[in-house]
């Protein structure tokens, strides 16, 4: 595991974490993200929305991206600007665009409701922007959450 923390830069704060896609990887990533967000006074609702998005996307990658593959790696790069928090998730698993899944029918009753697709639906709704690129043999997902005016206590 490799972790680089850059704090106090005049251009904003950030950190990067590379993890192996093993059991517990998502929990480690979220614990590291929470520690960073709290140290940088990111408002709790924004931090929690990213916690949910990280859980959905990293879990999805671990479950589907590396089956039968060795040497898997996922990188979480966080950039905290003055008006937005950007989280870039990169993995070397099989090509997979998580955004190409149908939204669930949330109007259906408990009994008739399938659960698949719900996680990605949450990510799309909780984030202000979600982008996917396949670049250099890697999946890249970019999440953007705007820091609404004056909410961030500096």
């Amino acid at each position: 595991m490799e972790q680089n923390v850059h704090a106090g830069s005049p251009l904003g704060n950030g950190f990067q974490l590379t993890i192996e896609p093993d059991r517990g990887a998502v929990a480690r990533a979220n614990a590291a993200f929470t520690a960073f967000a709290e140290a940088n006074t990111v408002p709790a609702p924004i931090r929690r929305s990213l916690n949910v998005a990280l859980d959905e996307l990293l879990q999805n990658t671990i479950a589907h991206g590396f089956a039968g593959r060795q040497g898997g790696a996922m990188t979480i790069a966080v950039e905290l600007g003055t008006d937005r928090l950007t989280v870039t998730l990169t993995d070397n698993g099989r090509p997979f665009n998580p955004l190409v899944t149908a939204a669930p029918d949330t109007a259906r009753s408990i009994e008739e409701r399938p659960v698949g697709g719900l996680g990605i639906h949450l990510v799309r709704q909780l984030m202000d922007e979600v982008h996917y690129h396949r670049r250099g043999g890697r999946n890249v997902v970019v999440l953007v959450k705007r820091l609404s005016g004056g909410k961030r206590q500096v």
Binding site: G24, V26, A27, N30, A44, P45, R48, S49, N51, V52, D55, E56, Q59, P104, T106, A107, S109, I110, E111, R113, V115, L118, G119, H121, L122, Q125, L126
Partner: protein, 109 residues
């Protein structure tokens, strides 16, 4: 994540602390299965110390609601802003009984 239970007449109050996500949901499911196995049919879950919930945690709630849908009750209270937002986005706010406070959740149960 931690789960603590206590009883109030024939109601089992379950206090969950921490996150309900892909990492903790199997443990939450196991704990709730145990509570059901002990015969509890009226369950109230205290969410006031739940930090966030992802789809894995929602699945646990959905499974509980299904199992209690015939002759039981599942009620939730104390959701923070983010948990409430996740419930609203997923449509769970309309299919699960969500209350603001413990007193409201227990009323008429």
């Amino acid at each position: 994540m931690e789960i603590a239970t206590r009883t109030h007449n024939d109601v089992t109050l379950v206090a969950v602390a921490g996150s309900l996500d892909s990492n903790t949901s199997p443990q939450a499911q196991q704990a709730l299965d145990g509570i059901l196995a002990n015969g509890a049919r009226k369950i109230v879950i205290d969410f006031s110390a739940v930090d966030y919930i992802s789809s894995a945690g929602l699945r646990v709630m959905l499974a509980m609601a299904k199992r209690l849908s015939g002759g039981g009750a599942l009620r939730l209270f104390g959701l923070n802003e983010t948990v409430r937002e996740v419930f609203d986005i997923s449509g769970f706010s309309t299919i699960l009984a969500v209350f603001a406070t413990e007193a409201e959740a227990l009323k008429g149960l």
